[in-house]
């Protein structure tokens, strides 16, 4: 590692994401200034507004509470990001994170609702996490199986399934999981049924730091090295990467690529389901029929930004977590809508995939023909008909 660092490889692999983020913040700043007239109390083309917005964005995560909420936001992003990243490694594009997340939350909710009162936290919480993750895995298994047996493209099927699971979730909250006697349809609060994840960081937690950092953080922290080990030190991981790099070669090499597709999609769904279960038990605690999440799309950003490397995914999750944590402060203090983060994500990815930095370097060195460098490691071809 030290040697690679000296070679500049690690530094180089960091330079591009950092440059993409800087470009995105600049572009976002121009965007904020362009529409500043609509922010209450600001004139048109107010150059001060982007500065004010970014100041409150940074202020939002650079404090004890801010760091904790960054970690809380980063936890599901890392888990779901790993789920998308392992798909990319196998050449599969899992856009089903949203549905897998929701069904994972429903699974955890069901366990807590039905056995939480009698079973106690030591049984309820692990079982709820496991059932949530397993349901997420099932939600990934379906598009995997469809892709392997009929060739139905996973991009279309996972997105269709997102909507199906959105309605499954609404139905479960209105039906079997609804809290009897509540004025509006809502589920039970998991903390009433031994289902809330213990608080790790916070006034009542093990470490008195910020507030509300739940133990799901440890799960995400463990998942990163486990996924790295799985991908780079096991046979299955090798086969997944081989199938992503060159499916034909993998098949001729004797790998059962169809089984790999099903396995990878199931694993991807499992991680997103786990993200949903930890978020439910650790943060939101109860669900309404309208519960929804942006995790599915955020996880794609995290996986691409982290170059589908588990360690990179962990770092990208922290970055996006910080942006999410800061965006609330930005919206309240500067009046700039938190949706800016979604737009910034797209701009970051845009700069990253077109390799702006490398294009600029290439043109400065006047090396013709190097405009589109290989990006196989980070983004395996998902091509073919959607």
């Amino acid at each position: 590692m030290a040697r690679r660092f000296l070679d500049g490889k690690v530094l180089q692999s960091l330079a591009e994401p950092v440059a993409a983020i800087v470009f995105a913040l600049l572009a976002g700043g121009i965007g904020i200034a362009l529409f500043s007239a609509y922010v209450p109390g600001h004139s048109a083309f107010d150059v001060g507004l982007p500065i004010q917005a970014y100041q409150s964005l940074i202020g939002g995560f650079a404090s004890a509470n801010g760091i904790t909420s960054t970690l809380v936001y980063a936890t599901p992003l890392a888990l779901a990001g790993l789920g998308v990243a392992i798909g990319f490694r196998a050449g599969l594009f899992n856009i089903g994170g949203r549905g897998q997340f929701l069904i994972g939350a429903v699974g955890a909710m069901a366990v807590v609702t039905w056995i939480g009162r009698d079973a106690g936290p030591w049984i309820t919480i692990p079982l709820a996490l496991l059932v949530g993750a397993a349901l997420g895995g099932f939600a990934g298994f379906i598009p995997g199986l469809l892709k392997a047996t009929s060739g139905a493209h996973e991009v279309v099927t996972t997105i269709m399934l997102n909507y199906v699971f959105l309605f499954v979730m609404a139905w479960s909250v209105l039906g079997p999981l609804t809290l009897p006697g509540a004025p509006q349809p809502i589920t039970v609060d998991v903390s009433m049924r031994n289902g809330a994840l213990p608080i790790l960081l916070g006034p009542n937690g093990l470490i008195d730091f910020g507030r509300g950092g739940h133990v799901g953080l440890l799960i995400a922290l463990a998942a990163v090295p486990i996924m790295w080990f799985l991908l780079f030190r096991t046979t299955i991981g090798f086969e997944i990467r081989a199938a992503g790099a060159n499916p034909d070669a993998a098949r001729y090499g004797g790998m059962k690529t169809r089984r790999l597709i099903v396995l990878t999609m199931t694993l991807a769904g499992f991680m997103c389901g786990l993200a949903g279960a930890t978020t439910l038990l650790g943060v939101v605690h109860e669900m309404t029929p309208g519960y929804d999440t942006t995790i599915g799309f955020d996880a794609i950003t995290v996986a691409l930004l982290g170059r589908s490397n588990p360690i990179g995914v962990g770092l990208a999750a922290l970055l996006l977590g910080a942006m999410r944590a800061g965006s609330q402060a930005m919206q309240i203090q500067a009046g700039v809508p938190a949706e800016l983060v979604d737009a910034l994500q797209a701009i970051i990815l845009l700069f990253l995939v077109v390799n702006v930095l490398r294009r600029i370097m290439a043109s400065r060195r006047r090396r013709p023909g190097s405009a589109a460098p290989a990006q196989a490691a980070a983004m395996p071809a998902t091509g073919g008909a959607a």
Binding site: Y38, A343, G383, A385
Partner: protein
């Protein structure tokens, strides 16, 4: 219901099927009109996808193009009303100047976003599915951001187009009249869509442009050899197709409804792509598939508005409403998965084309 003899309705199990058929026939007038209307944005998205993919570019960013166009059309309509003021709509389609300006703006922005996708796919040669996803994420973010800024102000939009009114005598005529009503009692974008389906079917398979497009999508190197500028053709197709997806967006915020809502496309672009695959990359086939997906929505709308009676009603009452809402998406998956090896994409679909270097 009277169309089916009572004796048949009373049969066990099968009776429910007959009752269901009777219900569908009884409500066909409403359901066929709704089916065509709901199919319009799906069909437009499918046409956009077909024009792109026939030339070899996968465009899953069309969902984002739709969303951006829906927002821009609505916003420009608001601005146009502010400048021009309200005017009396024309008797046909309820056309007003602000509405037309809104549609033009929607088409303009749609083609612009499409140009970005074209550049990413054709010139920058990045993975086209990832490029499309970035456009989708960006569209959600940027329209969400701007909508958040203006949502609290009570803005007066340009309203919406009105459907053609088919004379009641014609509309009530069984079957033929119902179908005529279904097709004709649409707004201008709906009518244009039906014309475009036929027009593009003919163009793709009977014109020089169509032949060149299909050549670029099947074997770009061969196409280039006979003098077709593959890069230029792909740019042209993707940008033109952007106008189709933009019309779908304009339909959402100016014909179906009269205002923008965050994420109002709700996966219609992706259903459109599925319709394109089911319709084997042909405009008429894609329109047929769009009608199939839309019929599920129409059925659920009909069940809500006029619930069936008798045994069928009892059965339907036990099916949760969420099931009907999820049905179009489920049907899309089932039909897509059922097409084992029978729907084959253009050979060079999704592959960037690189000219052989002169050296």
């Amino acid at each position: 219901m009277n169309a089916i003899p009572e004796a048949l309705n009373a049969l066990p199990v099968l009776g429910i099927v007959f009752q269901f058929l009777g219900y569908v026939v009884g409500n066909l007038s409403f359901m066929s009109q709704t089916t065509v209307a709901v199919a319009v944005p799906i069909a437009l998205a499918a046409l956009c996808g077909a024009v792109c993919e026939r030339s070899g570019v996968v465009n899953i960013g069309l969902e984002g193009i739709m969303l951006t166009a829906a927002f821009t059309g609505w916003m420009v309509g608001v601005a146009a009303v502010g400048i021009l003021g309200r005017s009396d709509p024309l008797p046909v389609f309820g056309i007003t100047p602000p509405l037309l300006i809104g549609v033009a703006a929607a088409i303009g922005i749609g083609m612009l976003v499409s140009l970005l996708h074209a550049w990413l796919s054709i010139s920058a040669r990045i993975d086209q599915i990832i490029g499309g996803t970035i456009i989708n994420i960006g569209a959600v973010g940027i329209t969400g951001y701007l909508y958040h800024l203006v949502a609290n102000q009570s803005l007066i939009g340009a309203g919406s187009f009105k459907p053609l009114s088919v004379p009641k005598e014609v509309a009530d005529f069984p079957l033929v009249g119902w179908l005529a009503n279904a097709v004709l009692s649409q707004g201008p974008i709906g009518i244009v869509t039906i014309i475009l389906v036929v027009f593009l079917q003919v163009m793709l398979f009977r014109s020089r442009w169509g032949l060149r497009t299909r050549a670029a999508g099947e074997h770009p190197r061969a196409a280039e050899t006979v003098g077709i500028d593959v890069i230029r053709l792909r740019y042209l197709n993707v940008v033109m197709a952007g106008a189709l997806a933009a019309l779908a967006g304009a339909w959402l915020s100016m014909e179906h409804g009269s205002k923008f809502d965050a994420n109002m496309t709700a996966g219609r672009g992706f259903i459109g792509l599925a319709a394109m695959i089911v319709g084997r990359w042909t405009p008429v086939g894609a329109f047929g598939a769009a009608l199939l997906f839309a019929s599920a929505t129409a059925l659920s709308a009909s069940l809500t508005i006029s619930p069936p009676t008798g045994d069928l009603g009892d059965l339907m009452a036990r099916v949760p409403g969420e099931f009907w809402e999820a049905l179009p998406y489920i049907i899309t998956i089932v039909v897509l998965a059922g097409l084992i090896g029978r729907s084959i994409a253009p050979a060079a679909d999704g592959q960037p084309y690189e000219r052989e270097s002169a050296t």
